[in-house]
C-alpha cells in the first residue's frame, strides 16, 4: 500500500490534464470570404461553413469540419477553419432557422473550382498549412437548391448522427453510451 501511494504521488502530483491539449494533431486551415446575396431571413439562427471529404457526400451529416457561426445580417465576412490535413471535395455554406434543424434545405452555396466553376472545388490541406482563397457565394434565393449530384447521392441514403460539434452534446439529457 505504501508503495502504491508513493507511486501515485510520483506520477500524479499536479499532473493529468493541463490547459494545453496534448493530443491535438498538427492541423491545417482553410480561409476565405463568404459573400451573401439576397436578404437575410428574419428567422435566421446561424450560418456556418461545412466541409465534406467526398463530393457528392453519401451522408449529408458526415461533416468533417464545421466553422464557428458566421456573423448574421452582413453582406460578406471572412472565415478561417482549422481542419485535419487531407483532401476535401465539398465546402459549402449552410443556414439554419430558429427552431429548425440542419438538413439539405440548409444549403446556400459552395466553393467552386476556379478552373471549372460548374464543379465544386477540391482543396488539399497539409499539416500546418493554411490554404486561402476559398471564397463562397451564398445566395439566399437559392437556399436548399442542392447540386443534382448531391440530390442523387442522398436519395435513399441513411443518415447518421452528426460528428463532434453539431451532434448531441454532453448534458443535453439524451445522450447515452
Amino acid at each position: 500500500m505504501r508503495y502504491i501511494l508513493l507511486l501515485s504521488a510520483f506520477v500524479a502530483c499536479g499532473k493529468g490534464i493541463g490547459p494545453t491539449p496534448r493530443n491535438v494533431p498538427e492541423l491545417g486551415a482553410i480561409r476565405g470570404t463568404v459573400k451573401f446575396l439576397g436578404s437575410w431571413p428574419d428567422s435566421t439562427a446561424e450560418v456556418r461553413v461545412a466541409v465534406y471529404e467526398e463530393y457528392p457526400p453519401e451522408n449529408f451529416y458526415d461533416v468533417k469540419a464545421f466553422s464557428d457561426p458566421l456573423p448574421v445580417g452582413v453582406d460578406s465576412t471572412t472565415y478561417k477553419l482549422l481542419i485535419s490535413p487531407g483532401t476535401y471535395g465539398w465546402i459549402m455554406v449552410a443556414w439554419r432557422g430558429e427552431g429548425r434543424f440542419w438538413g439539405p434545405e440548409s444549403f446556400l452555396g459552395m466553393y467552386l473550382d476556379p478552373n471549372d466553376p460548374s464543379r465544386p472545388g477540391k482543396v488539399t490541406v497539409g499539416p500546418g498549412e493554411e490554404v486561402g482563397g476559398i471564397d463562397i457565394l451564398a445566395d439566399f434565393s437559392k437556399r436548399g437548391q442542392l447540386p443534382p449530384e448531391v440530390v442523387e447521392a442522398l436519395e435513399g441514403a441513411t443518415y447518421r448522427p452528426a460528428p463532434d460539434g453539431i451532434g448531441l452534446g454532453p448534458g443535453t439529457g439524451v445522450h447515452r453510451r
Binding site: 499532473k15 491539449p21 449529408f60 439529457g173 439524451v174 453510451r177
Partner: protein, 711 residues
C-alpha cells in the same frame, strides 16, 4: 389466538464484551426459524416464539458472533444477555439485498460488497456517490453509476443499476435516474452493493446490480446531534485555469434528534449545504428534512414510516469553455441554473406469523420536480412514482421460500417528455435449498409486465436466476450464479421531444427494454483477520439504448442499438493489521466489447458464441483499483485512500480530446473528545486533473474541517 397464547418471549440485550456498552443494530436470529430482529439503540430486542429450546444468535459488523441456548415456556419471558467480542477486522457478516432476506455474506451466491458504519464514519461525505467511488467494481461518471462497466456515459437517461433506500426503489419517474443529492448521507447506517443481474428479484434497472442504502433507526433514549463542516477548494494547479479571484468555499450544517415518543421511536433531521463550487456554475444550495417513525405494534413485528424532502438550487456546468479554460463554461451558459425538489415516502410493516412464516408489506412514493433556467430553454418536469409490495417468507426444514408481488405507477408531466402514465406489475418467487450442510442452492423467477399510456405499449419480461454456494472448508466458499437483467426504457428515452444543437430529437415509443445475462463464479477465503474474494464474471448485453439518426431523415431518436459483452475478474482483499491498522484493496480488470453475434438459440446460450466485428465499448476503463489504509489508536484515527482507473481506450463524442488515467488520493483524520469528534479531510490530495465525463474536469483539491457533537 391460540397460537399467541402458546408463545413465550425472549427479551434480551446485546452488549460490547469489552466496554459493556449496549450495541444497536445487531441482527438477532433464532437459526432454523425465520424469527429474527434487530437491537435498538440501547441494544435491546424482543422475540416471540413457541415453547422449545432455541439457539439465539447475535451478529454485528466488526464483532465475532455470540450464541446462547434458551428454553421457552408458554407465556413466560426468558431473559438473555449476549456479549459480542470485537474483532479487529471490520467485516459485515449479514446482508439482505442479494436474496431479499438476511443471509450470512459467505452464503450469498453473487458478489456483494458492504460499506459498514465504520467506513461511513471514517469518511463523512456530503453525498452518497462520494462513498461509492471506493467500492470495488463501482464506477461513477458525474452522477451516473455503473457496476463492472455496465454504463459508459449517459446523462439523465436511465440507470442500469437499481438504487433502493430501506427496500424501496429510489429511481426518478421521468428520467429513471438517481438524485444523489436527495439521499440522507448523514443518516446512512450501511450500504450493500450486489454486483450482477438482479432482475429476478428486483425487476427493471437491476440490470448490472443493486445498491441498497439502509438509513439509521430511531433511538429510544433522547439523543441530539449536530454535524457541521466547512472548507474550501484549493486554487487550480495551472494558473491558466484560475477564473475566480478568491478561494471557493463550502459548508454544511446538520442537526438531528431521536427519542422514544409513546410507543414510537422517532428520528428527525435536517440539513443545509452550500458550496460556491470549484468551477463556474458549480455552486449549489441544498436543504433536506427527514423524519422516521418506528414502532413494534406486537412483539416480533415492526412498522416504520420515513418521510424525506430535499431541494437543490444549483448552477449547470454542461461542458467546459475550452481546455485552456477548463473551469469555465461557454459565455452563453454563464448563469444557467437548475432547481429541483424531491419528496419521498416509504412505509413498511413486517411481522412473523409463527416460526416458519413472515410477511412484509411496503408502500412508497417518490415525487420529483425540476426546472431548467437555461439561456436557451426553460424545460421542466414533474414525476411521481408510487408503488407497493407484499412479500412472504417461509422456512420449511432445509427449504426456504420467498414470494411476493409488486405494483407501481409512474405519472409524468413534462415540457420535454409530455404527459405519460406507466404501470408496472410483477410477481416473484425464490427458493433456497440446502441439500447438505455445505451446499446452498438458490432458484428464482420474476415476471414483470409494463403498460405504457393505457394499452399503447405492453412489455413483458421473465427473469430467472440460479445460484449455488459450496463450503470447501470453514474458511473457503465457492459460489456460482447465473441471472437475467433488464431495464425498461425511461419516459425520457421514449418520449423526449426537443431541439438540441440544431437537431430535433423525436420520441421513439417503440423502444424495447435493454436485456442482460450475468454469469459469475467466485471464491471467498476467510482466515483470522483477512478475507480474500475473487470473482470471474461475464455479462452479456442486448439492445443497449443510445441516440441514432432516423433513417432517411435528419431526426435523432433513442434506439436499441448495441450488443455488448463485458468479461472480467475482480479481487477484493481486506485485512486487519497489527497496531490498529486496517487495509483493503479492490482490483477490477474488464474487457468491454461491443459487436454482433449470429443469433443462436435463447439469449443465455449466446455467451458461448464469439463476438464478431467487435470494438471497444466506449467510456470504459479496463483497470480499476481502490485501496485504503485506516488506523485507529485511542481517540485518534486516520485514513488514506487511493483510486486508480486506466485511460479509457475509446470515447464517442470528442475522440481528439486529452484522455488520462485517474490517480486520486484522499486523506482524512480525526480525534474524538468526549461527545465530540473533530476531523479533517483532504480530497484529491495530489491535485491531479482528470475527467470522468468528457469536457468536465473532476473536482480539484479541497480541504474540509468537520465537527460532530452528540448532545
Amino acid at each position: 389466538m391460540a397460537w399467541a397464547q402458546e408463545r413465550g418471549f425472549i427479551v434480551g440485550r446485546v452488549l460490547d464484551a469489552r466496554t459493556g456498552e449496549p450495541l444497536p443494530g445487531v441482527a438477532v436470529t433464532l437459526p432454523g426459524t425465520i424469527l429474527g430482529t434487530m437491537t435498538d439503540l440501547e441494544g435491546r430486542f424482543v422475540l416471540k416464539a413457541p415453547p422449545g429450546t432455541y439457539a439465539v444468535e447475535a451478529l454485528l459488523v466488526g464483532y465475532g458472533p455470540a450464541r446462547r441456548e434458551v428454553e421457552i415456556s408458554p407465556g413466560d419471558t426468558t431473559k438473555v444477555v449476549l456479549e459480542l467480542k470485537e474483532r479487529p477486522l471490520k467485516l459485515p457478516p449479514v446482508v439482505v439485498t442479494a436474496t431479499k432476506k438476511a443471509q450470512p455474506l459467505r452464503e450469498v451466491p453473487i458478489s456483494t460488497s458492504v460499506v459498514g458504519k465504520d467506513e461511513l464514519r471514517a469518511r463523512p461525505a456530503q453525498t452518497l456517490d462520494q462513498v461509492l467511488r471506493y467500492v470495488p467494481g463501482v464506477e461513477l461518471k458525474g452522477g451516473e453509476v455503473g457496476i463492472r462497466a455496465s454504463t459508459g456515459y449517459s446523462q439523465g437517461a436511465g440507470s442500469r443499476v437499481l438504487l433502493l433506500i430501506d427496500g424501496a426503489p429510489a429511481m426518478t419517474g421521468d428520467t429513471g435516474g438517481i438524485n444523489w443529492d436527495a439521499l440522507p448521507a448523514g443518516e446512512i447506517e450501511r450500504i450493500e452493493v450486489v454486483k450482477g443481474a438482479g432482475s429476478a428479484l428486483y425487476g427493471s434497472n437491476a440490470m448490472a446490480g443493486v445498491i441498497q442504502v439502509f438509513t439509521r433507526r430511531p433511538s429510544r433514549t433522547p439523543r441530539t446531534w449536530l454535524r457541521t463542516a466547512a472548507g474550501c477548494y484549493d486554487r487550480p494547479y495551472h494558473p491558466e485555469w484560475r477564473w475566480s479571484s478568491g478561494l471557493r468555499t463550502f459548508y454544511s450544517l446538520e442537526v438531528g434528534h431521536s427519542r422514544k415518543l409513546g410507543p414510537f421511536g422517532v428520528l428527525l433531521s435536517g440539513s443545509r449545504q452550500r458550496s460556491e463550487g470549484y468551477r463556474q456554475n458549480g455552486d449549489y444550495i441544498r436543504h433536506r428534512l427527514m423524519g422516521k417513525l418506528e414502532a413494534e405494534p406486537i412483539p416480533g413485528s415492526r412498522a416504520d414510516l420515513t418521510l424525506h424532502w430535499a431541494e437543490e438550487d444549483r448552477g449547470q456546468f454542461l461542458y467546459w469553455k475550452s481546455q485552456e479554460h477548463a473551469l469555465e463554461v461557454p459565455e452563453e451558459m454563464v448563469g444557467d441554473r437548475v432547481y429541483s425538489g424531491k419528496f419521498r415516502f416509504n412505509g413498511s410493516f413486517r411481522s412473523a406469523l409463527g416460526t416458519k412464516l413472515a410477511i412484509l408489506l411496503r408502500g412508497y412514493a417518490y415525487r420529483t420536480y425540476w426546472q431548467n433556467f437555461f439561456h436557451d430553454s426553460q424545460d421542466r418536469s414533474r414525476a411521481l412514482r408510487a408503488g407497493c409490495e407484499a412479500r412472504a417468507e417461509a422456512s420449511l426444514g432445509g427449504l426456504s421460500l420467498t414470494a411476493g408481488g409488486e405494483v407501481a405507477r409512474d405519472g409524468v408531466s413534462s415540457s420535454m417528455f409530455g404527459d405519460h402514465r406507466l404501470w408496472d406489475v410483477a410477481g416473484y418467487v425464490q427458493t433456497e435449498w440446502r441439500p447438505s450442510p455445505l451446499t446452498t442452492l438458490t432458484l428464482g423467477l420474476r415476471y414483470d409486465r409494463q403498460v405504457v399510456d393505457g394499452k399503447d405499449k405492453v412489455e413483458s419480461q421473465l427473469s430467472p436466476k440460479f445460484g449455488a454456494t459450496f463450503r470447501l472448508s470453514p474458511e473457503m466458499v465457492l459460489r456460482a450464479s447465473v441471472g437475467r437483467g433488464f431495464r425498461a426504457p425511461s419516459v425520457a428515452e421514449r418520449f423526449t421531444d426537443a431541439y438540441i444543437a440544431g437537431f430535433r430529437v423525436v420520441p421513439n415509443p417503440g423502444l424495447r427494454p435493454e436485456r442482460s445475462w450475468g454469469y459469475e463464479v467466485g471464491f471467498r477465503w476467510t482466515s483470522g483477520n483477512s478475507v480474500a474474494d475473487l470473482a470471474l464474471f461475464q455479462n452479456e448485453y442486448w439492445d443497449l439504448i443510445e441516440p441514432q439518426a432516423v433513417p432517411g431523415s435528419p431526426l435523432v431518436r433513442m434506439a436499441n442499438v448495441t450488443r455488448a459483452r463485458v468479461r472480467g475478474v475482480e479481487l477484493e482483499l481486506t485485512a486487519g493489521l497489527p497496531s490498529g491498522f486496517y487495509g483493503s484493496l479492490g482490483y477490477t480488470y474488464i474487457v468491454p466489447r461491443e459487436g454482433r453475434i449470429r443469433p443462436y438459440g435463447p439469449d443465455f446460450l449466446q455467451a458461448l458464441r464469439p463476438l464478431e466485428d467487435s470494438d471497444e465499448l466506449p467510456y470504459r476503463p479496463r483497470n480499476r483499483l481502490v485501496a485504503s489504509v485506516r488506523w485507529e489508536g485511542g481517540p485518534f484515527s486516520a485514513e488514506a485512500r487511493f483510486r486508480y482507473a486506466s485511460r479509457v481506450r475509446r470515447v464517442k463524442m470528442y475522440p481528439q480530446d486529452d484522455r488520462v488515467p485517474q490517480y486520486v488520493v484522499d486523506v482524512s483524520g480525526g480525534v474524538r473528545l468526549r461527545n465530540c469528534t473533530l476531523s479533517f479531510r483532504v480530497d484529491n490530495l495530489l491535485q491531479y486533473h482528470y475527467t470522468e465525463v468528457e469536457r468536465n474536469l473532476a473536482p480539484i483539491r479541497s480541504f474540509t474541517l468537520a465537527l460532530t457533537a452528540e448532545l
